[in-house]
């Protein structure tokens, strides 16, 4: 006896797949791997639709990781916003690992989107990210792991902020649950012990990188948004010279001192909007020449038309005088 290729492929897939209780979900291929979990495409038989199923990775499985994944599910479930993936279900696998089921989103990650898009389009996407992050902040949630690979631009233009696994919760969000028995976090408390560093180098604010948990607030995410702005609109991604006001915006967001940054994601978004509208940004004091250039670029068509009219008129007068 031998096994045909298709059978071997099928067996590899089913042995990799998590073993779900009941027969509601039919697991298909893995569509994403993260530091904490693996995301599978699955079919929800009860509602006849495809969903995404995130399962804690077996090799990182442990009480702390399980708590984080469960927290993530509950945070997502309570942050109802178009920029946050809705969660449908949460549970525990036969082997004790936590999983949750969420909407299946098809699209591309921000870094890929930025490669094929103009600077203005990329900035408009980032504005939507700022809105989502600002919404989370207003509910006491700091993401703490914002980076281009955690932002999905959907096929229909939707912009989603993913991977809330290490988010810090303060205030009103209720994250305790019943799937694993014990409460996963107490409202108003930080789940990260001082000195513990969670996040991604290059996008982590200094206070986060140094493990100063007491200093982490919405401005920590503002720093990450500044790092994203630099990564996706800088010369490495877009090529060519970077407009100074834009550079000033990310420099302000990337201030090592939280007090030197924008006070909120909304303030950062407002400056990006000003830049897109070609009006002065708060992060940059422009010279007279730069101001003139900016005004010229903004009203380029009208100015050219007026100048052309004046030139023609002048020519006409000169010709008549001859």
């Amino acid at each position: 006896m031998t096994l045909p290729d298709d059978t071997v492929s099928h067996l590899r897939r089913v042995l990799q797949a998590p073993e779900l209780p009941g027969d509601r979900y039919e697991i298909h291929e893995a569509i994403g791997h993260g530091g904490m979990g693996t995301v599978y495409r699955a079919h929800d038989r009860a509602l006849a639709r495809d969903v995404a199923l995130k399962v804690l990775r077996a090799d990182v499985a442990g009480r702390e990781a399980a708590v984080r994944l469960e927290r993530e599910a509950r945070i997502l479930a309570q942050l109802e916003h178009p920029g946050i993936v809705p969660v449908h279900d949460v549970g525990v696998l036969a082997d004790g690992r936590v999983y949750y089921v969420m909407k299946l989103v098809r699209g591309e990650r921000l870094h890929d989107f930025a490669q094929d898009s103009g600077r203005a389009d990329v900035l408009r996407v980032l504005l939507r990210v700022c809105e989502t992050v600002g919404f989370a902040h207003s509910h006491g949630v700091v993401h703490r792991d914002l980076k281009p690979s955690n932002i999905m631009v959907g096929s229909f233009g939707e912009v989603l902020v993913l991977d809330w696994g290490i988010a810090r919760v303060r205030g009103s969000i209720e994250t305790s649950g019943s799937t694993g028995g014990e409460p996963v976090a107490t409202p108003g408390e930080d789940d990260t012990a001082p000195g513990v560093i969670l996040g991604t180098p290059g996008f982590m604010a200094p206070e986060q990188a140094q493990g100063i948990s007491g200093q982490i607030d919405g401005r920590t995410d503002v720093y990450a948004l500044g790092a994203i702005l630099r990564a996706i609109t800088g010369p490495a991604s877009q090529g060519g010279p970077v407009p100074r006001p834009l550079e000033a915006i990310w420099n302000r967001a990337l201030s090592p001192d939280p007090a030197g940054r924008y006070g909120s994601a909304a303030e950062l978004a407002a400056d990006i909007t000003r830049f897109l509208d070609a009006v002065p940004v708060t992060a940059y004091r422009e010279s007279f020449g730069e101001r003139a250039g900016r005004i010229f670029r903004k009203y380029q068509t009208a100015i050219i038309l007026v100048l052309t009219y004046l030139a023609v008129r002048l020519l006409f007068l000169v010709l008549r005088g001859l």
């Binding site: 006896m1 031998t2 096994l3 045909p4 290729d5 298709d6 059978t7 071997v8 099928h10 067996l11 590899r12 089913v14 042995l15 990799q16 073993e19 009941g22 027969d23 893995a30 791997h33 693996t38 990775r57 077996a58 090799d59 036969a94």
Partner: protein, 277 residues
Amino acid sequence: MALAGRLVEQPDGGDIPGTSATFRAAMFPRPHETPHGVFPTTRRSVVEAIRDQDPGTRRAALDTLITVYWRPVYAHLRRKWRLQPADSEDLTQEFFTQAVTDDFLLGYDPAQARFRTYVRVCLDRFVANAQRDERRLKRGGGITVLPLDFALIEQELAAADGQAGKDGADAWFDREWIRGLFAAAVSDLRTACRGTPREIRFAVFERYDLAPTREADRPGYRAVAEELGLPVTQVTNHLAWARRELRRLLLERLRSLTATDAEFREEAEELLGEGRA
């Protein structure tokens, strides 16, 4: 040392004509026959056993090795070295014969490479030497004939020719290695279930996971339930059990074919993804 008259396990665990059940049982203790219970908790590493002082242990280890490795060896000879079927058959036989007589597998150093890679490198060296010595073997010329199903693998290689080339020559070796491991694990599972109340579990697994040759032909749980006269929940439970056991047996086989924990984890990651061992 010749392999004449010895037994080589077939992937399906079926009897090989002309061999006694007693001899077979002695050479290949079945999982359910071990003192550890239904399944053995560990299987001694073949890589370790081929260095054993006892010739019987070494031969048994080599037979285990052949079970999983004969297909990759043959496919590698056919696809990478582009040898004719007859030459590939002879060299496959001789490669394993020389593994015993020349002990070249004993030179394996886990710090240098995975065992799988080492076997492939040994094979390449073996073929290069054979070609250098112009050692074209006559059919059956003094070679011990192992009961390996070359006709079947030849058909499969021909059927898979459309995929040749794009994965690189060494990919055939790896692909057949994976197939060999799965076939051996399925065989272990079937044997463990045979003649026990678990037989129905294997029947469900066979009907749902093994029998369909194309994804489109896979029956629904309900169809399998009706066919076997079981409730649907029983079908999913049996299937879950069979897959769990298959995964365990597969990893156990894999562990026996690796030398270190690190190598086992790497191989398991490649086989099943994401380091789930």
